[in-house]
Symmetry: none
Subunit: 468 residues, 2 copies
């Protein structure tokens, strides 16, 4: 006979003490619906009956029912029983609670483009978020304009000036969702101003080229050699995307003459230089190479992110813009998503202002430098004919292979050993550069670095045996 709780045969596991009875009852009922123990349309006992069964006040049960009606788990019409809602049950059918698995990653990963995610400063971030939430005015949680929170733009301007030599101020800064969005917004603005061609390093990230093309620009590929991109070939391009501090993936710094050449080209043609300073914080053997933007802040867009310094999943990037581009880029950002998330921006501002960001970067720099040194010395010992290049900075090295070794073959052999790694050819035309592997030595978590390095050496030192 329906009408008493026992009929449902559901073990509620109630905590019956104090004010938790109601919360416990609500949770138990939600779980029962979610798990399918209470099915669509099932009639619940009256609040009086259930209260009697459980030995609790009737109001407690009535309150729990009305909360669950409000949440859509149950339905109640005047004069009829409380029932399990139809769509509540549907929810259980369609949603097998997927295991929160991440994109499949190989056991050992030396692909470039990642910092060590296991070293993300979780407790510093939480502290920064706590402080930000304690002090932010409530208006900070509303729309505060497409350029981003002023707290963050101010903190960034100060940081970029001292750490990277950028001529920055908050008014010139636009916070965006990683470099991807920043580049996309800039391409939109350039296109709308009549640019048709973006010059770009021939060897580099495919997705940067795809973004330019998706936004209506043609590409002009610039050859890259030991002095960086051939800035003599800019010609009538409307803009150029460069990685001056540490060419990706070759690892060289753009030579002083080429910097000057790019700036002169920009002045003469009203062209725009986009400086992708993706790993500018990480320089090991000498002073950082300052940002090129400082040479000509009215012609160079400086772009950076926390993707290498903290983690790419944070998705915070920034553009420091020539004055004449600020309004257009802000308008493009407004149309794209109005602004980036305020909470992360406030937390990052606090992290920078408190010095915790600098401390984290310094720690990470030491750690990556140690890894680089281990990589170099392991290669010297186990694969002396392999030459490591581009190692003065950044999170990756270029390993030039001795003649007779083939990139694709090595990459395949590495995969066979559970090691993911990429060949230089993966990044586009190399202009006759000798075969090489691009090694992201920051990528593995600390505990996996030794294993990854050992596998790399095995593959490099005896490719034929490695295959067996």
């Amino acid at each position: 006979m329906a009408g008493t709780w026992a009929t449902f045969g559901v073990d509620l596991h109630l905590e019956l003490a104090g004010h938790r009875v109601r919360a416990g009852l609500e949770r138990a009922l939600r779980d029962a619906v979610r798990s399918g123990r209470l099915t669509a349309g099932a009639r619940l006992p009256s609040s009086r009956a259930l209260a009697g069964d459980l030995g609790v006040a009737r109001n407690t049960v009535a309150g729990a029912y009305s909360q669950l009606v409000a949440e859509g788990w149950l339905t109640a019409a005047p004069g009829s029983s409380t029932r399990v809602a139809d769509h509540a049950a549907a929810a259980t059918a369609t949603v097998p609670f997927a295991a929160a698995t991440d994109v499949d990653r190989p056991r050992y990963d030396l692909r470039a483009g990642y910092p060590d995610l296991s070293s993300f400063p979780r407790s510093s971030w939480l502290t920064a978020m706590r402080r930000a939430l304690a002090s932010a005015p409530y208006g900070a949680l509303g729309y505060s304009g497409p350029q981003g929170r002023p707290e963050l733009r101010n903190a960034l301007a100060g940081y970029l000036a001292r750490a990277r030599g950028v001529i920055a101020n908050a008014d010139r800064t636009v916070v965006c969702t990683g470099f991807t969005q920043g580049l996309s917004l800039v391409c939109q603005v350039l296109r709308s101003r009549g640019a048709t061609t973006l010059a770009i390093e021939a060897c580099g990230h495919h997705n940067h080229r795809a973004i330019a093309v998706a936004n209506g620009l043609h590409l002009r590929l610039l050859p890259v050699d030991d002095l960086g991109a051939a800035t003599s070939e800019l010609g009538d391009a409307g803009a150029v995307l460069l990685t001056p501090a540490h060419q990706f993936p070759l690892g060289v710094a753009l030579g002083p003459r080429r910097r000057a050449q790019a700036v002169e080209w920009a002045r003469a043609t009203a062209g725009i230089v986009i400086e992708d300073d993706y790993d500018g914080e990480f320089r090991y053997d000498r002073q950082p190479v300052g940002a090129m933007q400082a040479l000509a802040p009215e012609h160079v867009i400086y772009a950076g992110t926390v993707s290498k310094s903290l983690a790419p999943g944070v998705r915070i990037g920034w553009l420091v813009l020539p004055a004449h581009l600020v309004a257009d880029v802000a308008a493009a950002k407004d149309k794209a998503d109005r602004q980036s998330g305020a909470l992360d921006q406030l937390a990052l501002a606090e992290l920078i202002a408190s010095g915790a960001y600098d401390r984290h970067v310094r720690r990470a720099r030491l750690s990556y430098r140690r890894r680089r040194d281990r990589l170099v010395s392991a290669l010297e010992q186990q694969a002396p004919e392999v030459r490591a290049r581009g190692i003065a900075a950044g999170l990756h090295a270029l390993l030039e292979l001795p003649s007779g070794q083939d990139e694709d073959e090595l990459v395949a052999r590495a995969a066979h050993h559970g090691l993911a790694i990429e060949g230089l050819g993966h990044y586009g035309p190399t202009g006759g550069h000798r075969p090489a592997l691009v090694v992201g030595y920051a990528t593995p978590p600390e505990h996996a670095f030794s294993g990854a390095l050992a596998r790399l050496c095995t593959v490099l030192s005896d490719p034929v045996r490695a295959e067996l």
Copy 2:
């Protein structure tokens, strides 16, 4: 006589101790160029001469020079002097540091579109963030795909099913940066599939129209009456954007026949319905109007955000998509910004899973309902000829004005009283709807609501006197 440092008259403020000499020298030289004390082409003393002047090792000076050459501040050609680079001097034009002020807001604000930002659940958010950071695998801080974190998509699928009756699952869900980005991505995909026209409610948000136009779609304006948008006029549009639960700004629910009509149109023409469920959580006098999406999940895109339930600055939105659109929308998201920020997503997933999100929404619903009741009763007493419409749900009401009163005049008078409010005409052609004000009663913080309401009543009850 050039050639010694004294000639330049530059006070270097050097820290002369230990290894800082070189860094101090570099900084001083950069500052001297930046500030214009050293001008383009100026010849620097030889490293030997300057080292002698400063009493430091010649190598220290030579090292500093070569670093600054590398950074582009100086130039040096073999056999000639080191000089200040031409473009370096131009960098000096700087801009003053902006103050961290928020977008100016009036003293009393009853404009629609905001929740009460002062009630954002800061401590619950922080707790959720703490738990998320304690449990997230490190891979969650990397790139985890354009659809967004699986934890959040799972939590949303469950929540939307029970709270809004949406047929949802994680695989169909794309997390985006607010409704603005969601709509933009959908418009891009529709356009790329050949759609040319988006039907849209004639009276609604201007920026939604602007997004569609910016993405290459023409608009077809649908008249709106007491049963919602005229879905009989969809014709050959490729898609339609509707606010079925609570038309913005009229506040009516889309009638059952019109819902059916829209769905039939979508089935017959392969058209797409975009359901903007912007305030679906807030229903006061009866059961929530379930999402239209459940009628035809393969033809309706369900769109929601936390902008009304938490705060717009959080910038988290979601799309629940027909299966045939998921890959294209995900690809558009990937190109726009790869994915939304992982930390906020993890925190929101935790907030929903723990029940704290429901508790907050319930508290907010009670609070807004009380405000609505106060608004209605204040109007009854002080401006009985004004009629409040669309008050069964949402965060705003439509106040229909008695004949003879003019929207723009009232809005101007309100501004005179420090009260920001908008007329219905602000939202586009009203199709002969009588003059009205759109009142966002959730917008003020709790302490300012009484003052805002009093000013509103003053303006409405005696517009002529209010002007004095």
